[in-house]
Each structure stands twice: as C-alpha cells, then as structure tokens.
C-alpha cells in the first residue's frame, strides 16, 4: 500500500487562546484507500488536525505531506485540489445559488473550460444521486441533500482524499444515512481515501481505523474492534458506546460470558442466537 498522508510531529497553537496547544506533537500516516475515523471530545483538536491536512491551518512545527507534495505556501493549492473537505453546517458551505452552481464553484476556481465544467457537474451530481435537483435553490433542500451537493462539489474536482469534518452531526438520522451511503459508494468507485471526524459512533464503525484524540494528543490508534473494546474509557472521553457494546456489558453484569472483540448489531444477533448452542 502507498502512503498518501504523512504527518510528522505536528503541533499547533491558536493565537487567541493562550491555554495549551491545540495539537501536541502528532505523527501518523494514512494509506491510500483507507477509511480513517478521528474521534474525541469537543476541543480535543480533531478539527484542527483535519484543517492542517489541507493547509487551512499551517502547523507551527512539523511536516505535512500529501501524496508527493510537502505542504508549504507553494503547494497549498495543489494539495487543496487533492483534498476535498465537507464541513459541519450544510448551509455555511453552500456558495452557489443553485445546486449546479454550487457544484461548479470549485471547478470555476480552477479555471476549467465551460464545456468540461458542464459535463463534470452533471456526472458529479449523478454520482451523489442529486441530478433531478440541479436547478434547485439550497433553501428548498434538506440537510442531507445539501451535504450530498457539497460532496458532489468535491467529487467534481476529482480529489484523492475526502475529509468529513463532522459532516453528519447536524443532520437527522435519515440524512446521516444518505450521506454515509453516498460516501461508501463513492469510496468504492473512485478509490477515495476517507477521513471522517465524528461524534457518531456508527460513522466511526464504518472506518477500518480509528484515531482517538484527547486534549491535542493522539491517545489511541487502532481498528474499530480494538477501540470499541475499551468500553468504559470511551464513555469517559465523551463518546457514546455503540449499542452492542452496551448490551455486552449488561450481559456481563448478569454473569453471561461475552466475546471481547467489537461486534456490529448483526454480528451481535448472530452471536446471541448461536451462543447457547455453543455451550
């Protein structure tokens, strides 16, 4: 596997807040095609971390490498072309007055000729299943639809990496499902690398690797199975423990022996109905 993002000893401090650093000596790398979830408390530095990857914030110390480019003032626009970012508030990232204008915004910025733009806008909208809404204004879309438009705007730029900065946190359950399904499908088709910053444990469970942040430090790095098996510690970090984990600890209290590794809801059902047979 090739490494697509490489962070070395990153630290960052907000100028207005003279408390401790927002990021403290963070190093990790992400492989191409991975889905990495970054979880942590409010103010743990996870959004700051995401913003250093595409140069929205320049770290005080350390090196950021995306693809073969080292992040500096010269390369920052190339890197932003490679890294698309979906933000939290669906309204505050909708620049265009209609769906298609918004998708075209990024393309316009790159100076792409109009004929190609039209084609790329349409195919991007098709990929997120929003073609029929092309002429709509944002006020007439649901939160989930707006986020899908934001994703289309990024897909149209043909990035290698997509960062979801709490992109589903303001959506209703239906919208959340739509957005995640869209990302899963795109990831498969376009061979994207996905970084999702999230509070939502189900979104984190989609990842194949989870980074846990606390007060600007990276405290855990592992697969969902290992991370979720920490149970109580996750609750202490302000993260809700997934339902199967809760069920497991409840069962444990009643003296039922349960497997240690993380299970999805389906896996849990599977285990439950076969468990008494195995005894």
């Amino acid at each position: 596997m090739t490494i697509i993002i490489d962070l070395e000893h990153i630290s960052y401090k907000y100028q207005s807040i003279d408390e401790q650093s927002a990021l403290k000596d963070i190093s990790f790398s992400i492989e191409k095609g991975d889905w990495v979830a970054i979880i942590g408390h409010n103010g743990s530095g996870k959004s700051t971390l995401a913003k250093t990857i595409n140069g929205l914030l320049l770290p005080e110390n350390g090196k950021v490498k995306v693809g073969e480019y080292l992040l500096d003032e010269k390369n920052v626009w190339t890197i932003r072309q490679m890294v698309g970012m979906v933000f939290q508030n669906p309204d505050n990232q909708f620049v265009g007055s209609t769906v298609e204008d918004d998708v075209a915004f990024g393309l316009e910025n790159q100076g792409i000729p109009r004929e190609e733009m039209v084609e790329r806008v349409h195919s991007a909208l098709e990929k997120v299943k929003m073609s029929e809404f092309a002429k709509r204004e944002p006020a007439r879309l649901s939160g989930g639809q707006k986020q899908r438009v934001a994703i289309a705007g990024i897909v149209a730029l043909r990035p290698d990496i997509i960062i979801l900065d709490e992109a589903t946190s303001m959506l209703d359950p239906q919208g959340r499902k739509e957005v995640l399904a869209t990302i899963q499908e795109l990831k498969k088709k376009e061979n994207l690398t996905v970084i999702s910053i999230t509070h939502d444990i189900d979104e984190a469970a989609n990842a194949n690797r989870i980074l846990v942040m606390k007060e600007g430090e990276l405290i855990h790095d592992g697969t969902p199975q290992t991370i979720f098996s920490y149970g109580q510690e996750l609750t202490a970090l302000g993260l809700d423990v997934p339902f199967p984990e809760k069920l497991k600890s409840a069962l444990k209290k009643r003296g039922v022996e349960v497997p240690k590794e993380y299970m999805t809801e389906e896996g849990m059902v599977e285990w439950l109905w076969t468990s008494s047979l195995k005894k």
Binding site: K51, N54, L56, W77, R80, Q81, G84, M85, F87, N89, D91, N92, Q93, F94, V95, G96, S97, T98, E100, D101, A104, F105, G106, L107, E108, N109, Q110, G111, I112, P113, R114, M117, V118, V121, E137, P138, A139, G153, I154, L157
Partner: protein, 265 residues
Amino acid sequence: MMNKLIFGRFIPGGSFIHKMDPRCKLLVSFYFIGIIFLANNWQSYLFMFLFTIACIALSKVNLDFFIKGVRPLLWLILFTVALQILFTRGGNVFFEWGIISITQYGVVNGAFIFCRFVLIIFMSTLLTLTTPPLDLSDAIEYLLRPLKVFHFPVHEVSLMLSIALRFVPTLMDETERIMNAQRARGVDFGEGNLIQKMKAVVPILIPLFVSSFNRAEELATAMEARGYQGGEGRTKYRVLYWHKSDTGAILVFVVVTFALILLRT
C-alpha cells in the same frame, strides 16, 4: 413580517419577460427610471402607467405581488409627497400657515411624485420578480466590467452580491427562529410604542449579527478549501444569452421615449 418584503423574491415562470436576458432587463429598468422624469403631465403619466401595466401583464405575475411591494415603502412615499404638498408654492393657494402652504402646484407635484414612486417600484419589482437573483448579479458583473480599467473590484462585488442574495432565505429563517426563541422567553414584538418596538428588535439583531459573523467565517473557510483564490484565472459556469427579442425590447423602449417626448408639455 419578513414575507412582506418581496424585494428580491424571484417567482419562476416562462413568460417573455422571464426569458429576457438579465442584462437587457437591468438596462431597461434603469433606463425606465431615467425616462420617467420626462413625464410632466397627466397624459404622459397615464401613458407610463399603461405601459407598466402592459409589462406586468406580459410577465404573467399576479398584480398583488406588485402592490405588496409598494407597501413597505408607503411611509417613505407619503413623507415625500407630504413635503411636496406642504412646501411647494405656486398657483391657487388653498391654505397657508407660516412657511407651510398648500397650493395647486404642490398638490399636483405631490400626485406626480406619488405616481413616479409607484411606477419605479412596480418596474423594479418586475425586474426582481422575473429575474433569478443570481442572473441579476451576473448581469451586474457584466455591465460593470468596463470599470475594471479603473481597478474597480468587479468580480468581488459580484461575488459579494450573489452570496448576499444566496443567504437571504437562510437569514430569514434564522430571524424567524430567533424571534420564536425570544417570544418563548416572553418578548412581545407587536406591543408598545415606537421606542418599545425598537427596543424589542435589539434581542433579534444581536444574535443575528453574531451568527452571521460565524457563518461568514465558516463560508470563507469552505470557499478556501475549495480552492478559491480570487477572480484571477477563474472561469464562469453561468453564461448569458442575448436574444433577438432583447434587442426588440430595447427598441420598444426607444419608441416609448419618443412617445413620451411627444406627450410632455
């Protein structure tokens, strides 16, 4: 409260007026404001009224929208008309008290100014009702282009305009939400005298300002993340098409101008 302000509220449709090039519509709207000052008697004002009504009929937009458009500006109009009536002198004097006098000329002038206001509002409402705001800002960008010579930031102004327009519904929703939140805390917006009413606006405006600043910052971040680096080297997704009918519309306005010159005294 907010819904009464229909300025900038586009009503979709397929009429001839809707299909006109926004540049043409913008030009002739401004031209209309210019030539309305040519009218100076009943005949010419009647002619302009009929012409405006014809334009409205052509747009197939309900006349109610236009009358609603006048309403928020009614006080301003009445104030101006009152000034004209009270301070213009000449002709038969109906009433006199100190510097205030109601004269024949004053009343006639007041009536003309009222007509002028209403016609201008009707025409500009027609422009905003039949033109999507973004088309309008495209038109403005296009028409301002010559000013680039003087280092006028044409692209920035046009982007500012289109973003402002795009956020109108968002901010309206927000205002509604804040008002409801304040109502739930016992604020009464409809009651009291003018000063009390103005005071009641403060708890709406402050949260609205705070949230707008936050929105602006987030939007700026999102735009930068999508590679926005100013107008240099940007291409345009939206294009405007000038049809033969647009040239036709301009010719109609030329004819109207001549008719006005003939009708005025």
